[in-house]
Symmetry: C2
Amino acid sequence: MNEERTGKATSEPRTVTIKDVASRAGVGLGTVSRVLNGNENVAPQLRDQVFRAVQELGYRPNSVARSMRLGKSHAVGCLVTDIRQPIAAEMIAAAETTLGRAGYTLIVASTHFDNRREAELLSLMQNRVVDGMLLTVNRDNDLDVTQRLAAINLPMVLWERNPGGGFDTVLTEHRHGARSATSHLLDLGHREIALVAGHLDTWVGREQKAGLDAAFADRGLEQAAGLIFEVGAFKARELEALCRRERPITAIIANIDEIPGILRFCAKRGLVLPRDLSIVSIGDASILEVVTPSITAVRGNGTKVAQLAANLLLKKMSDKQSEMAPERLTVGMQLKVRHSTAPLNKDGGHGLRSQDRG
Amino acid sequence: MNEERTGKATSEPRTVTIKDVASRAGVGLGTVSRVLNGNENVAPQLRDQVFRAVQELGYRPNSVARSMRLGKSHAVGCLVTDIRQPIAAEMIAAAETTLGRAGYTLIVASTHFDNRREAELLSLMQNRVVDGMLLTVNRDNDLDVTQRLAAINLPMVLWERNPGGGFDTVLTEHRHGARSATSHLLDLGHREIALVAGHLDTWVGREQKAGLDAAFADRGLEQAAGLIFEVGAFKARELEALCRRERPITAIIANIDEIPGILRFCAKRGLVLPRDLSIVSIGDASILEVVTPSITAVRGNGTKVAQLAANLLLKKMSDKQSEMAPERLTVGMQLKVRHSTAPLNKDGGHGLRSQDRG
DNA sequence: CAAAAAATTGGAAACGTTTCCACGAGGGGA
DNA sequence: TCCCCTCGTGGAAACGTTTCCAATTTTTTG
């Protein structure tokens, strides 16, 4: 007893298990388990004894053992390309809240667009670490990826990706977003419009491109070639080339991540917004509303996407293999017209060109 | 055999275990385990047979069972207040990369400043779900929290929190940051300087306040009372009151999250930056460099904080209870002077006041 | 009051892995 | 030739739960 008080002689502080609780409380293992799981059919006196023993021994349930016995981990894997994108963080936060309420823990992992890492993470999660998955894969137009996803034997919802076929998906209407942004610019007289879209081997990028195309097609206009770029592959170099074309661009629609780079370029080159260049951001943030000039944006709703996806996943995880038909949910986008877009400046030359001759 | 091919009659696709592999390969359980874990002492022929059986059966190791047997989960819990803060996302991404290289999975959870949720999450993670923790607790000046942390029997590193006592911590030098921002403003002639700091029951907020105090004290100046606020408790209302004081503020140092709100207020009231108000952001982002006027900021390095914290945690997790003395690492901050701060405008009245009389 | 039914309880079995121990075969030394 | 040592292998035990079944007690019914 004395040794126990000082806790010195004991080499290892052996972890307290349900068995220790049982013997301390003078009951059987089954009874302890029943008490701990709120089963009603236990005599009040025994229940109290168990609780007291738990208290005294500082017992903590071992949820790994629990998971193993139940075959459920009560965890959901969440794969994103980069958690540092504000939209990704927003989605993760919302998913965490929704799933947390249902008793699930979120395991977040970023692929950073590395396909090998993505494969590793998918494999890791499949080793019965999670009960379901929320996925934004790197690419969704690759047969290899599609097959690998199809082989996953777990409830699974894709968000912002759409490989086609029998997957559950929650999608933002990027086509509509890009289309309305383009229409807005066409209405203002712009014709040389560049687009910096998401990766073209993701649904997001493809839809954005399709939206641009649709807006031109709506008006029977033909768009110039070579004005479509992917995020990441668009730097000052590319932007400069766009301004040096025979017919320089007068407007640009770009992912929000690219906006700082574009503004920096404009400042350096003395381009004045929106006189020399109109800008639309794909994705919104409060800072865009308050800068000078404020920046026109198409706004999605990542929180809503995440909530829909999380709830869909919960449904799939609870339905015992009922094999519901795959669902496809969409969330709208809205054009917020601000002051970075203006009618085409017909007579005024392009800022870069005039300066360039100096 | 036919049933097996169609896979129809079998009601349940029983999961493939190591036992199945063993019998298929015609070897014992121990041998399979040894092969799978890269143990050398296995005959090459048996090794091949095992690999072939694994392939044919599509065996996947059950890492929950593995965790249970080994008593290690190879997961690290990461608690933040809000994953949507870009600095938090940056830290998480860096920690994930560093820990991932060492074979650990990150389990991220946000408390959203809810103390009950924090307690739940800490408790959950302690149930042997993780091997170590990276923590940003809601408050670190509360005896209750400190005790609860001390009771956690797991390797653990706090980042951006410092309860004092024997905890391992990695900290950004917020005192230095706030001090240099304040000095900068004092040099420009400002005296009525407001501060919107982190929560004052976190180390971050307290250090920021201390930095402001220090800058005033350095010069033997006395600062006005009532100019210090906490993020979250600072809205347009408070800002307006600051501008209506007998001696209106001429400068403000604020957490980056508050910058959009402040700019919106200025725009609405016709305050021109930096003529009517100088602004310093605590925390930097590329957008701050390119807006007009560009915004002076003190910049930390979340990536470095996270890397240091992750490596420290790895060290603690590998050292078998060697009880190293707690470490305390710090990462610097740097003032980036831009165009949102300018010398005090002596004669020009305060924008709000003149307009207010109209 | 006896018997049947219902309620409560204890503990074995099982979840899938790793580790440890024992056994047998093969090889080398006396 | 015999013995001892080494090496490779198979399988039991253990990790901490939950669940199921059988045993016991209590309650109800005839």
